[in-house]
Symmetry: C2
Subunit: 370 residues, 2 copies
């Protein structure tokens, strides 16, 4: 068994998040729960995830003399609604959650969002532990405390910051992930590498084993992604200083595309296209070296394999760009890369972001056709 | 025009709450809003409150070149549901709330709770300004950041801490308050006085003018109540050290009675009975001087005029006591008064709290019959 890698950071005054990554991390988790909260534990998960991993989770919990109560939500984005969140909260309270209890969110990003938000709101807040089962959640969303559900008017319109006390990534849980979802997760991994010069230097050695889903490489990439994000979050826990905003690299165009495609593009696919557009914008507005940009462009295409958009109807996506919640009356805010691991926040018009996206499409098509 | 009284405190690292009390405070409010958030403002209010005070509020806002968008909720506790909160959030987003905007909660405790929670959750948090229109909210709930809605399983089961940037109390808004609601508010005032020795010494001079609803006395009592609470909240913003827990004096029995009565007892009436029971418990478990206790007992009866419970069916209220969310596996936690402005937190069984309540009823009946 490979050793567990771990680190700890403070996402705010009086707060602490521990991160543990590696084979066997699930056993570690079970032993930690009673230290985090002595009372009754719940596990919020989705039906398919709990079918795959619930038994193992409960077995590890039983070995630590715990008997968490499952509360299951529908699969995928359907779980991220106001109604489902209300049901989860009613279940938690009806089945005996107290202030000395806690919640494990076992699943992908949506389960982490809904479970985290339920933990933030139930009894005005109980501890949450994130146990991601997708690469996307494991390398990004499980850490940082952002929780949300969607409204008809847009994604993630309702939520709060509720930092997990513990994030546990056991690569064994990622084994069952479909290839498309795994590639989606690699999008956040390659974004993380762009924001961390040391990780970026390590990437050439990780490219092949990541594409082949080899465990040591996956665990290392997840660990490096979370450590980078932990550092950024610790420096700006509530996104007040703009430092944390850098994590949105590629997400302005990405989110708008995801919505405009009616979610036929997965989050990771949309963000992959967002990264390609953001690299073009970074050359134009951030002075990013075109040679570095081209190399990173190639990594995104190779790892994320974003689908060609030629057959996809993208409905009025500049409208979604303008509705981006990162914007304000003065227009969009977007992140550009200025060098390895270095970013700047710029203001730009939706038209400029759209033009960068069109240029990214041209380069993508040229590379593919050439 | 009487001078405005004001103070400012920090309810947590990087946070600041300003409090302004007095005739004309509404004009002050309008000038402050653009400093708090430069974007679009909303005013969450209830239909009857907005009918009474909306025009005046919008006029003051217009004088500061603001045009807040009203979002109205049903009157009273009916507003504190998951469904209503969902509608408020959908309205805020659909009508153009952005991250540079803010929300004024204009109304009583339920509007403050729903408006505050909506502000906490919309776009992961926008500033909220509390403008209470009941004495209960003005002297207590508008400050401190607690927000909540109810679930079928119990009151305030869902919520979060979201501190207001500004609390504005204009006694002119309290003029239209029915007497029963005003007396309810006096319950929190007398509770606040018990927790602050200087306020307690001042109370004999305030008793008559408060009963007569004279403005200078009301403004002073509100100001002293909020200042006391501000000090406690600043010392323990997230209720981690137990200091803030002292504010629950009278509320353990109070909440249980309120629920057991099927809300035929108002919050203030139920807490008035809770205070009477808590005074008995304070003599028995906190060593409170029986002479002081008797005097405070008399003030609660005189100011709050809690209704005789002889004709009221109180259903299984010890069950509600046991379900109190301040409790845990080891039983109830309750606050006792040990002297003027001095408290302690004790553990007690539901039976002991019930017996203190029965003794309070005996004393109440003796005083009334004698």
């Amino acid at each position: 068994m490979a050793a567990l890698r771990s680190f700890r950071f403070s996402p705010g005054p009086g707060l602490s998040t521990a991160v543990v990554v590696g084979e066997g991390a699930l056993g570690h988790l079970a032993r930690e729960l009673p230290r985090i909260a002595p009372g009754k534990w719940f596990v919020v998960s989705s039906q398919p995830v709990f079918f795959l991993h619930g038994e193992r989770f409960l077995r590890e919990a039983a070995a630590a003399e715990l008997d968490p109560t499952p509360v299951l939500v529908p699969d995928g984005e359907r779980a991220k609604t106001w109604q489902v969140l209300g049901h989860v909260l009613a279940e938690l309270i009806a089945r005996g959650l107290r202030r000395d209890g806690g919640i494990v969110a076992l699943g992908g990003g949506t389960v982490g969002d809904v479970g985290g938000l339920a933990a933030a709101l139930a009894l005005r807040g109980v501890p949450v532990v994130q146990v991601p089962t997708t690469l996307l959640a494991a390398s990004d969303s499980a850490l940082g405390g952002k929780t949300a559900v969607d409204l008809p008017a847009g994604k993630n319109m309702v939520g709060t910051l509720h930092h997990p006390r513990l994030v546990v990534v056991d690569p064994a849980l990622l084994r069952t992930l479909p290839d498309r979802d795994f590639r989606s997760g690699l999008t956040e991994v390659v974004k993380s590498a762009m924001l961390d010069a040391a990780f970026l230097r390590r990437m050439p050695a990780l490219l092949s084993p990541l594409k082949e889903r080899r465990h040591p490489a996956v665990a290392e990439a997840v660990f490096r992604s979370l450590r980078m994000k932990g550092r950024v979050v610790a420096s700006d826990p509530e996104e007040r200083k703009g430092l944390r905003f850098a994590l949105n690299f590629g997400h302005t165009v990405g989110h708008a595309l995801e919505q405009a495609s009616g979610h036929r593009l997965s989050h990771g696919e949309a963000v992959a296209w967002g990264l390609l557009a953001a690299l073009v914008l970074s050359e134009r507005r951030g002075g990013l070296d075109p040679l570095l940009s081209e190399r990173l462009f190639g990594w995104v295409v190779s790892l994320s394999e974003p689908p060609s958009l030629s057959r996809m109807r993208i409905a009025a996506w500049p409208e979604f760009l303008k509705a981006d919640k990162k914007g304000d009356r003065r227009g969009l805010r977007a992140v550009v890369l200025t060098g390895p691991g270095k970013t700047a926040t710029i203001r730009c018009e939706a038209e400029e972001a759209g033009e960068a996206f069109r240029e990214a499409r041209r380069r993508y098509n040229t590379a593919r056709d050439g």
